[in-house]
Amino acid sequence: MKGCPLSCLWCHNPESRMSHAEFVRMENRCMACGLCNQEELAGRGTRVLSDKDVESCPTGALQKAGLEIEPAALVKLLLRDRVFFDESGGGVTFSGGEPLLQMSFLTETLDLLRAEGVHTALDTCGYAPWRDLQKAAQRSSLVLYDLKLMDGVRHQAATGQSNRIILDNLKALSEIHAGIWIRVPVIPGINDDDGNMGAAARFLSSLAGIRQVVLLPYHHIGEPKFARMGKTYALAGLQAPTLQRLESRAAIFRARGLVTTIGGRP
């Protein structure tokens, strides 16, 4: 879901930051046919792209990131995959951006899916009013909750926001929800130091309801997406963590009795 209150440096879905639809250009696909007047746009910015440009783009190089859809219509679309949900025990995960920014849509869609017996999960950064998180979490069998930096100042620097609400929310959520997986991105030089990882592990182990931690290794997939949107990528040149480094980070959490996996794999 589009729109995010944070702006993490390592963001791999920059197209989901803004709440409104945006135009995205895939340079590798563009055949320079001129139908969208990109040259003119690039030169002087005199013309604003429209849906018509996206429609007429023959190669699909020009795309619109963002789709407006009603809950009932979305659920109809999602249920096309019901056989796969049934066979795998899987379901629908709401992610983004930050789903909690669109509460009425989110709760309505979650309710419709649950009425159909579909497993639901909420993937959130936790930066939202407690009441909203509570409402959405109660409608989700699983909550994937991101924990990035324990130090408020560093959190502010890396994500653009303070972590106070995030930590408070997690503490409250852990008291009312049994299915929480904590997801910790491992961003070299930003949050992977012993100090931060140790503090996160300490905090998590103090919360009774939390057992599962997933470390998400930094990767470069966001980089070309920034370029496509004409934005600069702050972490250009950053190397992904080695497996050895990841294992030593995982050990910090495991030492606190937390069941920790890397990259979502056992």
């Binding site: 791999h12 895939m26 590798n28 055949m31 046919c33 139908l35 783009c57 023959p58 190669t59 699909g60 096309r80 995959d81 056989v83 796969f84 049934d86 066979e87 795998s88 025990g89 899987g90 998400l216 290794p217 990767h219 470069h220 997939i221 980089e223 070309p224 370029a227 992904a240 990259g263 979502g264 794999r265 056992p266």
Partner: protein, 785 residues
Amino acid sequence: MSERTERLRQESLAAKPSITGERAEIITRFYQQNHDKYSIPVLRGMSFCAIVEQKELWLGERELIVGERGPRPKAVPTFPELTCHSVEDLRILDSRPLTQYKVDPLVIELYQREIIPYWKNRSMRYRMFAELPQEWINAYEAGCFTEFMEQRAPGHTVADGKLYRKGMLDFKADIAHAIAALDFERDPEALDKREELRGMALSCDAVMRWAQRYAELAESESKIASPARRQELLKIAEVCRRVPAHAPRNFHEALQYYWFCHLSVITELNGWDAFSPGHLDQHLWPFYEKELADGSLPREQARELLECFFIKFNNHTAPAKQGVTAAESGTQTDFANINLAGLLRDGSDGCNDLTHLLLEIIDEMHLLQPSSNMQVSRKTPDNVLKHALRVIRKGYGFPSLFNADAVVEEQLRQGKTLEDAREGGCSGCVEVGAFGKEAYILTGYFNLVKMLELSLHRGLDLRTRTQIGANTPDPAAFTSYDDLFAAFETQVRHVVDIKIRGNQLIERLYATRMPHTFLSVITDDCIARGKDYNAGGARYNNTFIQAVGIGSVSDSLSALKEIVFDKKELTLPTFIQILDSDFEGKEILRQRLVNKTHKYGNDDDFADEQMTRTFRMLFEAIDGRPNTKGGAYRLEMLPTTCHVYFGEVCLASPDGRHKGLPLSEGISPVQGVDRLGPTAVLKSAAKMDQVKTGGTLLNMKFSPSLLEGEAGIENLHSLVRSYFKLDGHHMQFNVVNAAKLREAQAKPEQNRDLIVRVAGYSDYFCDLSPALQEEIIQRTEQSSF
């Protein structure tokens, strides 16, 4: 692998295919002396006896299972009575860069001197082309369809379990009984039946003689062999004295027995596909279980015997094909295919420990032949399917997976008994049959895109400048999409009629001139009916036509419907002109057709409706039409490599495909247009009522990283079970290697659908940055095999 099988495997891989003139020479001399002395079935039986009596035997060092069709591994005999290669054909085989067969100058000399003069106006191929009408020849040359029996005999069948319960002497007793029961007073066919049965009895003698010669050879070689080898050779001799004359008593004899039957089927005639052991794990289980329990056959010894058996398949390269027939199936694989798991006759689960042992062997040996498949039923345990998926993950392309419950349902629809259907399965690529009881013959691929092309040109084929199709109305006069579809249907029916008229003639030529006496012995109910396998003797007789290009044609119809009839952006004549000039100067339109029209494979009802409508129309045009054997025509959706040849003969198509490029294959979407992931492909494919076919083929490609770990296996497992729950027939997985990723970098437009996994996250490979692509290629290389 034991040291023995490792060595045998290396030798088999190193052997280069070659042509041997041995069989051609024996059969030609036999015919020269005997052709007018006997009835045709007896002549065939006797000629088979002559081959096995006179041929050179190969007994390789270290072999435990014996028998080669040629004088050495991968030496492929010719079948001049079916198709007589010209000197030029032989030179091409010897020099072509792909699927090459070495041809010794002495073979060419033999052909010039004896083979060609005798067979050039007598071979089946000669007779066929002399009889086939011009309309058939024109359509064939235009690339509307291919013809399987043009160079190879009707094959496509599989052994059932009765082989392991009866020896050739038992079959001969059945034959004698059938002859004794003939009613010469009231049955006008009694005399013909007696000749057929006599031919069958002769072929039993032939296979027993073949085994006897091996017993003699092994005994004589044992006298000069090392002590260890002496014991093995004496064991081989003992086995060959027992089988195939008698039913096998143990695991070793069972394997050797099957192998003699296999050799006999593929030596008497060159059926396409070779022959297959069917449910090998089920058939061998009683022997294995008993010997494992009494300690006479440890698991590792069973493994070694099975490995020796596998190598025998790999030694047998397909008979050499020429011209269009080589193009439609450009491979030296002879399509022997082993079925794993599946159901027992009583409907219970057919898995056992041999299912696992065979999977281990398939994994270890990864030979081109035999190919393997798993028949996955609702009852197949998850751990068995997951074992297969772990082998698949390694990227060999096998085992392929079939929906055993759908395979049963498909056969019930064709009127088979429930038990016969359960004992059946799949052979060749994806074909469904009742093993040991059915002649299910593929007759040729059918070019769907060419049919659409004909409907846009009033039946005229622009490439050959010949009127091939029906004279349907001028496209300028089509006022609706239905008018266009009606013309398409008319062309399909017109060309199917031409194809079937040709098929009937070819079937009768085989029925009367080229009985398959040995295959008739082991196929129910040929003995009881006194009829040959090629003449309707089998209990069930289905004739298949295999449609190619359903993805391409569905996308083309979707584009025409949207652009011409719904949005009216182009008139049909203008669109046709653009296609005829291969989109020259119209790249923007072509890009739009490729990227912005509805495509089959995305769970998009607009495109998928054109697919289901085309499928229903094809089904109506083909299914249930009578063949000459008391059976019926059936529809298959299978390409082998024919989608490449069919693409070559087609103009540009309305889906944006350039002239000459490949069509879509099987029921897979057009290469690169499925953009919504594997679940959407499966949803689209499952909209086809696949239970009404005799087989469909769906290819999917994954990067190894997508299937990593237990989670990868779990996901793939759910995907397979979901597709089969939706009545999908078959799926196979290409797990791509680094070379494939390089190709995707070079040709992104054809590989847009390639998904790769990036650190717990997946994306389309072609949309990744060059640097990231490099990273993934390196990772893939590291995890390649």
